[in-house]
């Protein structure tokens, strides 16, 4: 969930409202936001926005715009958008795309702006927008990266091409020397951070102006010269490169609207592609590409459980900044230039609901009579639990993830059927347990000072690799139990197994087990009698002292584990 920092003064400027922090906290839910932190000294608020499909909210300007729209009835319009079949004049601001980037990073969108000297609030917000858009919406620059430049030094047309990473050199922002593109990946902090995006490519994306002056090495770093933007700048060039043109175009629209709201004139830039794009070969940005969405008012009313007329629905949408038409029972939504989150009429329905306010909906109990029921496994598990408790056992609940050391090495097993995690966060949580036994022994190991005897059990799940299965493994409901006492031994656990299986109504036979976790000759396999042939259900016995030693357990233990899915059959 993206979090942004806003200055209270900035938010007031863009929203034209002066809410207190408490009032703001009440207002933000309308845009799926909340106040995360407040610094009363600096007046900086940290806001969190939950809707990952609304990147337009991730800036002071965007959040302020949404609040202004919702709470004042303002419906913003922006006149600098080209549309399909109607491009605005670019006055020579053009970017030519070289065919070489098609296989590398195929799309670029851009615009320019001019206006008042850039102040700190606007510049900070612009930098934050860049970060949030490229990190959250642009997948850490993988699909969207953004660059901002001083445009008065740029000689159009700007050239976007893919170049040889070893022979192309320039001085990146933040370093005092000239480096090759490949060296930048190793030596510049941004190169180290974002390098993996391009490292495997034969050629790297590169942006220059018509004289060959370097703008940037997207998506990594700007040049030290054209790419150094600071307060006081009045003329800027903004570009974004990436892999998905609609996302890129939307991101450009969002930044353009933010800067327009900050008082800048947005100047169109035309990008000429040598290959076809979803919007044609020549596209002038900012570009409005969203399509109208039609939704039946009856559908919306039914989904929301209300009965609005067309005008009421339109008014609700307007509060969300959404223009619409209504006729013949059909609501036609014209998505705002900075939004692209209307995939289905349900998205329109939600905006109607939020525009009206959830508080206006009277809760109503679902009236369908249905029969409640627990799963058979749960019911069987409860029977088993009750019997174990009746035998004096304390129920435990353990984590299912653990280390190789605990789940395999300390158990003296080979561990060939234990599910391993490819990307563990730490080696402490790298395996999924294939047995409850290690958890029980861990408990015994850390509980040497708890009054003896110890009788503990868990009814829970275990997972074992099984190559014949579609998902390569099987999850099983399992009962594991352990007793620790100075005089604990096979006779005691043997009696408990007999009692348990008697009350579960299972006839069974035992066979001597060679399970390495137990003392040889003091462990038994449990085989349930079946008409066809006996079915294996588990093992029990005296835990081998070598295993006890591995767990620092100083008292004799018996341990058993039974497959409840087998017993329940």
């Amino acid at each position: 969930m993206p979090k942004i920092e806003v200055k209270q003064a900035g938010l007031e400027r863009y929203s034209t409202l002066k809410p207190s922090v408490d009032e703001l906290a009440e207002m933000l839910p309308a845009v799926k936001g909340e106040v995360d932190e407040v610094n009363r000294e600096t007046g900086v608020l940290k806001l969190e926005f939950n809707d990952t499909n609304r990147p337009d909210l991730w800036s002071t300007a965007g959040a302020g715009r949404a609040l202004r729209t919702y709470y004042t009835g303002w419906l913003p319009t922006y006149e600098f958008f080209s549309r399909p079949g109607r491009s605005l004049p670019d006055e020579g601001r053009r970017v030519t795309v070289d065919p070489s980037v098609n296989e590398v990073r195929p799309y670029l969108a851009a615009f320019a702006l001019s206006g008042p000297a850039m102040d700190a609030v606007t510049l900070d917000d612009l930098i934050q927008t860049q970060e949030k858009l490229c990190w959250n919406f642009g997948r850490k620059r993988k699909s969207i990266a953004m660059g901002v430049y001083r445009s008065q030094s740029i000689h159009y047309p700007v050239r976007y091409q893919a170049v040889d990473p070893d022979t192309t050199r320039f001085q990146p922002l933040g370093l005092e020397k000239t480096l090759s593109l490949r060296e930048i990946l190793k030596e510049h902090p941004k190169g180290v951070e974002y390098g993996p995006i391009v490292a495997g490519l034969p050629k790297f994306p590169f942006l220059t102006d018509s004289r060959g002056e370097v703008l940037s090495f997207p998506p990594i770093i700007n040049s030290a010269h054209l790419g150094a933007v600071q307060t006081g700048d009045q003329e800027l060039f903004v570009e974004m490169t990436g892999t998905d043109l609609p996302s890129l175009t939307l991101a450009v629209s969002i930044v353009a609207c933010d800067l327009a709201d900050a008082g800048y004139t947005i100047l169109p830039v035309t990008v000429e592609y040598p290959y076809d794009t979803p919007f044609g070969k020549t596209v002038t940005f900012p570009y409005y590409f969203q399509e109208e969405v039609k939704a039946e008012l009856g559908f919306i009313n039914k989904l929301l459980g209300i009965n609005l007329v067309g005008e009421e629905a339109q008014n609700a949408l307007a509060k969300m900044g959404v223009a619409s038409r209504y006729g013949n029972g059909i609501l036609t939504v014209i998505p705002p230039v900075y939004r692209n989150d209307f995939l289905h009429p349900v998205d329109v329905a939600e905006d109607v609901a939020v525009g009206r306010g959830l508080a206006s909906f009277e809760p109503e109990r679902p009236s369908d009579a249905t029969i409640g029921r627990l799963t058979d496994a749960e019911l069987f598990g409860r029977r088993v639990r009750d019997l174990m408790i009746g035998m004096g056992f304390q129920e435990m609940i353990f984590n299912y993830l653990g280390s190789r050391r605990d789940f395999i090495e300390r158990m003296n097993i080979s561990g060939t059927d234990v599910v391993q995690i490819l990307n563990p966060m730490t080696e402490n949580y790298e395996y999924v347990r294939n047995s409850i036994a290690p958890n029980l022994l861990e408990a015994e190991g850390v509980s040497g000072n708890a009054l003896y005897p110890h009788h503990i059990f868990e009814v829970g799940k275990v997972v074992r690799l099984e190559s014949s299965h579609r998902e390569g493994s099987v999850t099983t409901n399992s009962l594991g139990w352990l007793s620790a006492a100075p005089d604990e031994g096979f006779n005691q656990i043997n009696s408990r197994v007999a009692a348990l299986l008697y009350y579960l109504g299972k006839d069974y036979k035992v066979k001597e087990s060679s399970d390495p976790r137990f003392i040889p000759g003091r462990a038994a396999e449990v085989w349930i009698d079946r008409k066809a042939q006996p079915e294996f259900a588990g093992v029990f016995g005296e835990v081998h002292p070598a295993v006890l030693e591995n767990w620092n357990a100083g008292v004799p233990c018996t341990l058993g584990e039974l497959n409840l899915d087998v017993l329940a059959r």
Binding site: N50, E291, G305, R365, A369, T370, S473
Partner: protein, 512 residues
């Protein structure tokens, strides 16, 4: 302590002492043994209790030397000392030293010292053939030793009442430590002298007033029942306020108890339980929930990937084709889709289930309409483990299917949960966001103890989810964060405590 409670707290061993002896009389364990027939242990127990209640106090200690018979002493008392046995053996004629040792089962050196001692006293001598011969019939020393062994086997010997001869013999045959090789063990023994205090006087009056004699019946035994002796006896009242000893019992884990309570509540509200495997595919964990494959929440660092095998053999049809179409262009769901090329390899990728909603999605193809379903299921999330994040944890999720369910019934459902499951006093709804629901609602509740907090998330499943999985009616989907309520109920603040391996912590834990 009032007199009544005091009398009740007295054990018969104490009562008899109080009734038998007056204040100011010196009392020892020996005295109690003599007058009341107490064993030493019983006497000491009575003194200890009486002193604890202020009814007796210690007035002094005397020390004496005592001899007690050892195991070896007992053996020799029964089987004869080596010297006695040697003399006896010589009655049949002279015997060579080695032969005698073998005959008597003695080691060479013990044989030697037995011979040496007897020879010194002129009882035996060596003849010309190096054979031992008997010279005298009687040894007063051996006779005295035998008498002492006999006495010591009955009661420890008090040095102060022994003759000089006896003392000499004892000290030759006793050791303080390592006495196993000697027939006597000598030790210093302290005798503690007590007296009853003036308070004992009033206790005696109270005892008499209540008619307590010290002969009351203690534990009711099968023998008492069989003999019927209880009919003529009086039961000694126990101090029922005495602190009980600890009992460790078998019981449910209180967290499980909480979960069972939630499950039972949901069943009572008409919900049917679902469950499923811990290893899932990207298909069910994300794709089926209309989370685009390029979504940032689906990067490698948000779910745990299974190392081997990496992919499921296949994904169930027709759901795979239908979900793929929904992602690409909406399919027949009325959506325009996400507009990208659905990756059919990625969708088979095996992972550990990261959200309970997976099971809600899997329930859709087999769900009844109308229908209500729920699950309390273990999930795995790629998070740093801390007080609020576990390596694995429980999620409570469910769905409601019905041709007439809508946003208002969703709010009604949430209100029902807030009151019935969470015990809330007030409910507030705010717009939420989940990739698989639209509209989405977060529910905040005011709990009488916890105050306002987020109880859960919910929404109406997107048609891209439901239609693709064969359901044509609206489906309410909800999830409840019951961990927080469970922690509160157990008086805990760290989620890791819910899964602790510490037996004592679990044993002591209880619900408030």
């Amino acid at each position: 302590m009032d007199q009544d409670t005091l009398v009740k707290s007295l054990h018969p061993l104490e009562v008899k002492v109080l009734l038998t002896f007056g204040t100011g009389v010196p009392l020892t364990a020996g005295v109690l043994g003599e007058k009341l027939g107490y064993k030493v242990g019983q006497a000491n127990q009575a003194f200890s209790w009486l002193c604890g209640k202020g009814l007796a106090h210690e007035t002094g200690r005397t020390s004496k030397t005592v001899y007690e018979i050892t195991e070896l002493g007992k053996e020799q008392l029964a089987g004869g000392t080596p010297e006695e046995n040697l003399l006896k053996a010589l009655d049949k004629g002279p015997v060579a030293m080695a032969e005698a040792a073998q005959l008597l089962g003695l080691e060479q050196k013990d044989m030697g010292s037995a011979y040496g001692q007897l020879a010194k006293e002129g009882l035996v001598a060596m003849d010309d053939n190096k054979r031992i011969v008997k010279k005298a019939a009687e040894s007063p020393r051996l006779k005295t030793l035998r008498t002492l062994l006999q006495k010591a086997s009955e009661a420890d010997l008090d040095e102060s009442v022994l003759s000089e001869d006896e003392k000499a013999i004892l000290s030759a045959n006793a050791k303080k430590r390592g006495a196993a090789a000697s027939v006597f063990k000598v030790s210093e023994r302290e005798t503690v002298v007590y007296e009853l205090t003036p308070e004992a006087g009033s206790a005696v009056s109270a005892i008499r007033a209540q008619g307590v004699t010290g002969d009351e019946l203690g534990a009711l035994t099968p023998a008492l029942l069989a003999s019927g002796a209880w009919k003529t006896g009086v039961f000694r009242p126990y101090n029922v306020a005495a602190p009980p000893s600890r009992l460790v019992i078998g019981r449910r884990n209180p967290y499980q108890e909480y979960i069972l309570g939630v499950k039972d509540k949901l069943v009572s509200l008409g919900f049917e339980e679902f469950d499923g495997p811990l290893v899932e595919t990207e298909f069910w964990n994300g794709d089926a929930l209309f989370m685009p494959q390029f979504h940032s929440a689906r990067d490698i660092h948000d779910v745990y990937y299974v190392k081997n095998p990496t992919h499921a053999k296949e994904i169930e049809q027709p759901w795979l084709d239908r979900i793929a179409a929904a992602h690409t262009n909406g399919g027949d769901t009325g959506s325009r889709g996400w507009g990208y090329n659905f990756d059919r390899d990625f969708t088979r990728r095996l992972i550990l289930r990261s959200q309970g909603t997976v099971l809600s999605a899997k329930q859709l193809p087999k769900a009844k309409i109308p229908g209500k379903y729920f699950g309390v299921v273990r999930c795995f999330r790629y998070d740093q483990v801390d007080a609020t994040h576990g390596a694995d944890f429980y999620q409570t999720e469910g769905i409601v299917l019905g041709s007439d369910v809508n946003l208002r019934t969703l709010l009604g459902l949430l209100k029902m949960f807030a009151i019935e499951v969470a015990g809330a006093t007030e409910v507030k709804y705010v717009p939420g966001y989940f990739p698989f629901t639209e509209p989405s609602v977060e529910v905040h509740i005011k709990h009488p103890v916890l105050g306002w907090f987020e109880m859960g998330g919910s929404g109406i499943f997107r048609p891209e989810v439901t239609k693709s999985l064969g359901v044509d009616v609206p489906v309410l989907a909800w999830g409840l964060g019951i961990d927080r309520m469970a922690l509160m109920s157990l008086g805990l603040s760290d989620i890791r405590e819910l899964f602790t391996a510490n037996i004592e912590n679990v044993r002591l834990r209880r619900r408030s």
